[in-house]
């Protein structure tokens, strides 16, 4: 019979403090190195977004000083009302895609992990295949479909594509977690007379919340940052996302670096906020994950 119902991830253990082992120093050094590598470009963008145009060019690696400090980029960006619309578009697309990916991903994962039916294995393969093949390979046919459906230059087109793009990974991760929810728990719920939908929403989903948060973070960032599909499927003035909108400041002959850097800095804020919202759950998902 099954043992006590805990998810497989081990619980957090406090390590005894017996001096610092050399291996740990090495681990921390490499992690710090990676952090610097990852953060420096972001820092560079932030630093220069607060400088005058001349200062950006003369000394891009220095901090803004009293002389070089300027908010010209931000005022330029904020002054343009369409930038706010781009933000709104990005936000709508990301949140809507996320919602549907999590909802349908969790439901499909539940179906695949809980019920035995003909074709179950094939369906798993099918979704695994979706992780392996980049969706961009299908861009031409996607565009044809969207034209056929009259969805070009709508946000729905983007949402549809992103849901398709995010589902395979979501299903993969969530079905693994759902398989770890003890069977007796579901049986107990069935004995309590609870129907399958309620078992899913009221028993299983609360238990795999950390996994859902993890999936949310992993799928959210690429959607927010995507340039490819907005450029192809929704490049109209009304439907541009922020990543696409920023490109307007990049000209063929002259680039408004103040505006580009300022809008890039602004574009980071919403994802970081969303990440912070999920991160509490996320950390639990990685370290604890235990249900009991």
């Amino acid at each position: 019979m099954t043992h006590t119902s805990t998810l497989a991830l081990p619980s957090q253990r406090s390590l005894p403090r017996l001096g610092i082992a050399p291996s740990r120093v090495l681990v921390h050094l490499s992690l710090i190195g990676y952090l610097l590598l990852a953060m420096l470009p972001v820092l560079l963008v932030l630093m220069n977004s607060f400088k005058t145009r001349d200062a950006i060019f003369s000394d891009p690696l220095s901090w803004p000083t009293a002389e070089t400090f300027s908010l010209i980029g931000y005022t330029k960006v904020m002054a343009r009302s369409d930038v706010w619309m781009y933000f709104q578009n990005s936000f709508i697309v990301t949140v809507a895609s996320l919602f549907f990916i999590l909802l349908f991903g969790a439901m499909a994962a539940w179906g695949i992990s809980e019920y035995r039916f003909a074709g179950n294995r094939w369906l798993r393969f099918f979704f695994a295949f979706g992780i392996m093949v980049p969706i961009r390979l299908g861009t031409v046919s996607i565009l044809q479909i969207m034209v056929g459906l009259n969805l070009v230059n709508t946000l729905s087109a983007l949402v549809l594509v992103y849901v398709a793009q995010g589902l395979p990974l979501a299903i993969m991760i969530l079905s693994e977690f759902m398989a770890q929810v003890p069977g007796e728990l579901k049986d107990a719920a069935r004995c309590d007379g609870i129907d399958e939908f309620r078992i899913f929403f009221q028993v299983v989903v609360p238990l795999i919340r950390p996994a859902i948060a993890t999936v949310a973070v992993f799928t959210m960032v690429p959607i927010w940052n995507d340039l490819w599909f907005p450029l192809i499927l929704a490049p109209s003035e009304k439907t541009q996302t922020i990543t696409l909108g920023i490109q307007q400041f990049v000209g063929q002959y002259a680039t408004d670096w103040n505006a580009v850097l300022a809008s890039l800095s602004l574009a980071i804020v919403p994802v970081v906020t969303l990440y912070a919202l999920f991160s509490r759950q996320l950390i639990r998902g990685i370290t604890a994950g235990a249900v009991k």
């Binding site: 019979m1 004995c191 309590d192």
Partner: protein
Amino acid sequence: MASVTLHQLSKSYGNTPVLHNIDLHIEHGELVVLVGPSGCGKSTLLRVLCGLENISSGELRIDADVVNSLSPAERGIAMVFQSYALYPHMNVFKNMAFGLKIQGSSKEDIAQRVLAAAKVLHIDHLLERLPRELSGGQRQRVAIGRAIVRKPRLFLFDEPLSNLDASLRAKTRIELSRLHRDLAATMVYVTHDQVEAMTLGDKIVVLNEGHVQQAGTPLTLYQQPANRFVATFIGSPTINLLPARVLEASSSGVRLRLNDGSQVVALVDGSQLQTGESVEIGLRPEHCSVDASPVHSGSDDTAMHAEITLVEHLGESNLLYLKTDIGQELIVRGDGNAAVRLGDAVIVRAAPESVYLFRADGTAATRLRPGNMRSAHVH
């Protein structure tokens, strides 16, 4: 409460049959214990009763209703699981109230029923806690409470005590027994623990390989087992089995010769037996006596010569592991005194009324005086 009737009930997974034509009747308010070795189908039978598994063929009735195709809730069944299976994200109150809420009971009704059940189980001070903040015994009670509040027609228990430590298990066993009496509930209880089976059950059903071997009161199974399997399964340590040959048989007793040449009289109905037939006799460790100072043996008793190979002291008694002259191994329960030592030569006897007899096909001959006889003594 309800009675349950299984008629020719079978269950198979694909082409693998798990339960074969089970016929069983459970009375109102009876506590039936299903026992058997691992993989004998006892847990499957419980899940079939519950409605978590489909019935392949046959009929399951609760009272007069055929419930084959009904869901667990529609059958009015509550089950307590081995791992408790409490909802980890709900507190004790919500755990117990969840099923009622889904049924659509009123808030006051739910609160009153949960509180009543919590009082009975002494968990009324824990209602706000989460399952992870409870001890194993408390979780167990919450699981039982969750079953009680729904006022089911039938309770099912799937090895509910196996995750508890020994002392708590004994305590909870007694509480369960009391609960069964107070609720006057029909219960089916699966266990592999013999003590639980013997102490809790009004009736024990011994299963092996998906067949019911015997169903009866605990004492019947112990004193009058239907076959060799039941005899070896009930009783601890296991009954000693010795091959023997029938010398003379009648309806009032059988005289046999064991392989080492000694003779045994068994007070069993031997009217079916043929002279010269190969059979096995069964001697329970607690019914044998060991004579540590071998003199001349009585003619009407089993008198096997053996040597002590191991002694286990249990406090109130001791277990003597013996090897007979022809290498047959025996276990005998002694009186617990340290009067015997390793390597001692002893004589083993068993009174005729204490001998079990099994035919070659495993069926048992009816014992004529099955009541418990003298316990073991070391002379």
